[in-house]
């Protein structure tokens, strides 16, 4: 059983990073949050567009995504920054994060007396929380505690031929250690859902998988749109992918071969170990943000075209099967399995390379996205703005 060094949280959760997270409840608080994180080293924020003029399922999705990100085990403490008049209640949000036992504080810009005073107060609070977090000792954790999200983006034909099967091999290794894997992208299993459904542990799980795909496809029908206007994307098409079905069949191999233990909603907490499907869009940032909110420790992200995507709270490991792109975008890439397509690396060897990278990144090695400060964040939206 492999081990790594990480952080034990008050509720028993284990993290592989020790972030202080500053959460704006609403777009109006973004700038104050950005200034606070500039003032306090090793502090991250998740600016977003939402938190106001939202009702029902959308309001709840924003709330759950923010709360889940705050609860992520890579986060040690949280400062919630509110404007004061938005629909996401900052005190309810703080309570929803505080259940983990981590320190959570709230700052209200209107109560503080404006941006300048809020930045000053927020910086003081953040400095205090950061100093506490810096005292945390790294402790030995088991690899079985690790939950990894698998994602692909900026795909080309090499994704389905090389990087996704290689990532699937690494995913099987983590499952064999007793860990967890989460795959998402409902859009990008269209045409391949029957293969995943056949692997569900129970008929109920299989039904739910078919249901979320049907729900998505009906929504596309209701809009009267041809999905090909956006997916496959222009880059996917230039890279040789012709249809969503072809893209999906290449996508699914990235989650390995384990049975599915369940299908969860976007940003819903992952209930256990083993393999789960999260109902989520193919959109890279929305999907990775949903995975972070669901509690994954890191994401393995395959790409053929090349993308810099990162996250404020979870490391994102970039893997490519396109050796030509690797040469061009080495700044953004962590693992190159391009030699698979030249016949000089087999899927086992490529899987081992990714597995080693997962272990090293979980143990503290920074990903290219972390080094470059890529912290994209976006909440999946359901309905209209009011």
């Amino acid at each position: 059983m492999g081990t790594l060094m990480g952080y034990k949280r008050a509720n028993g959760d284990t993290g592989i990073r020790n972030h202080l997270l500053v959460i704006p409840t609403v777009i109006c608080a973004n700038q104050v949050c950005s200034r606070i994180v500039q003032m306090v080293p090793e502090t991250v924020a998740i600016p977003h567009q939402h938190g106001c003029s939202q009702i029902g399922a959308d309001k709840s999705r924003t709330f759950e995504t923010l709360a889940g990100t705050g609860r992520n085990p890579n986060v040690g403490a949280v400062l919630v920054v509110s404007l004061g008049c938005e629909v996401v209640n900052p005190y309810e949000l703080a309570d929803a994060i505080r259940v983990t036992g981590k320190p959570v504080e709230v700052l209200d810009i209107q109560e503080a007396g404006g941006s300048v005073k809020a930045i000053q107060q927020g910086t003081e609070i953040a400095n205090r929380l950061r100093a506490e977090l810096d005292k945390a000792e790294r402790v030995e954790l088991s690899l079985s505690e690790l939950i990894v999200g698998v994602k692909c983006g900026g795909s080309d034909a090499t994704s389905g031929l090389a990087s996704n099967p290689a990532l699937g091999n690494a995913a099987d290794r983590l499952i064999a250690e007793g860990g967890g894997i989460v795959i998402g992208e409902t859009t990008e299993i269209i045409g391949a859902e029957h293969i995943l459904a056949a692997r569900c542990r129970t008929p109920e799980i299989s039904d739910k998988l078919y249901h979320i795909v049907d729900r998505f496809e009906k929504e596309v029908e209701r809009m009267g749109e041809d999905m090909r206007g956006g997916n496959p994307s222009p880059g996917n098409i230039a890279g040789g992918l012709s249809t969503i079905e072809e893209k999906s069949l290449g996508c699914i191999s990235k989650c390995g071969t384990a049975p599915f233990e369940g299908v969860i909603e976007y940003a819903e907490k992952i209930p256990g170990k083993g393999l789960y499907f999260m109902d989520s869009p193919g959109n890279d940032i929305e999907c990775v943000s949903g995975m972070a909110a669901s509690g994954v420790h890191l994401v393995c992200f395959t790409t053929g075209r090349g993308t810099p995507t990162g996250s404020a709270v979870i490391p994102v490991i970039k893997i490519t099967g396109n050796g030509r792109m690797y040469e061009r975008m080495a700044d953004n890439m962590d693992v190159n399995v391009g030699p698979m397509l030249e016949g000089s690396m087999n899927v086992e060897e490529a899987g081992e390379l990714i597995w080693q990278e997962i272990r090293e990144v979980a143990d503290g090695k920074l990903t290219k996205a972390e080094i470059l400060g890529h912290q994209e964040f976006s909440i999946n939206r359901i309905g209209p703005s009011l």
């Binding site: 045409g191 749109e225 041809d226 999905m227 249809t243 079905e245 030509r324």
Partner: protein, 104 residues
């Protein structure tokens, strides 16, 4: 699952049932390329330029026919496609996610 790729392969076929192979290097129009299906290696001639990562027909495909890659349906041919032709969005269309065809 990906077939093990032999060093120097021109194209890869993912499943014995497939109608298309994927180019592992740029193929020029008129170029002979070799395609391994299970243990058999057969020569083909590219009738179009086939860029790296793009598909080439390895069997005759009829207009309206389902096209297979990974042993599964990846869409439908919109014209007859001869062996050696480039198979892409100009002669292959997705069947799923087609809200534009809803109710038709």
């Amino acid at each position: 699952m990906a077939e093990t790729i032999k060093s120097g392969s021109d194209v890869i076929v993912m499943d014995v049932k497939d109608h298309v192979a994927t180019a592992l290097k740029d193929l020029a129009e008129g170029q002979t390329f070799y395609c391994r299906i299970q243990d058999e290696v057969k020569p083909f001639t590219a009738a179009d330029p086939i860029p790296f990562g793009h598909k080439v027909a390895i069997v005759e495909i009829r207009s309206g026919q389902d096209v297979l890659k990974y042993g599964e349906v990846i869409g439908r041919a919109t014209t007859d496609i001869q062996v050696g032709r480039h198979v892409h969005v100009h002669n292959l269309e997705g069947i799923r996610g087609r809200g534009d065809q809803a109710g038709k």
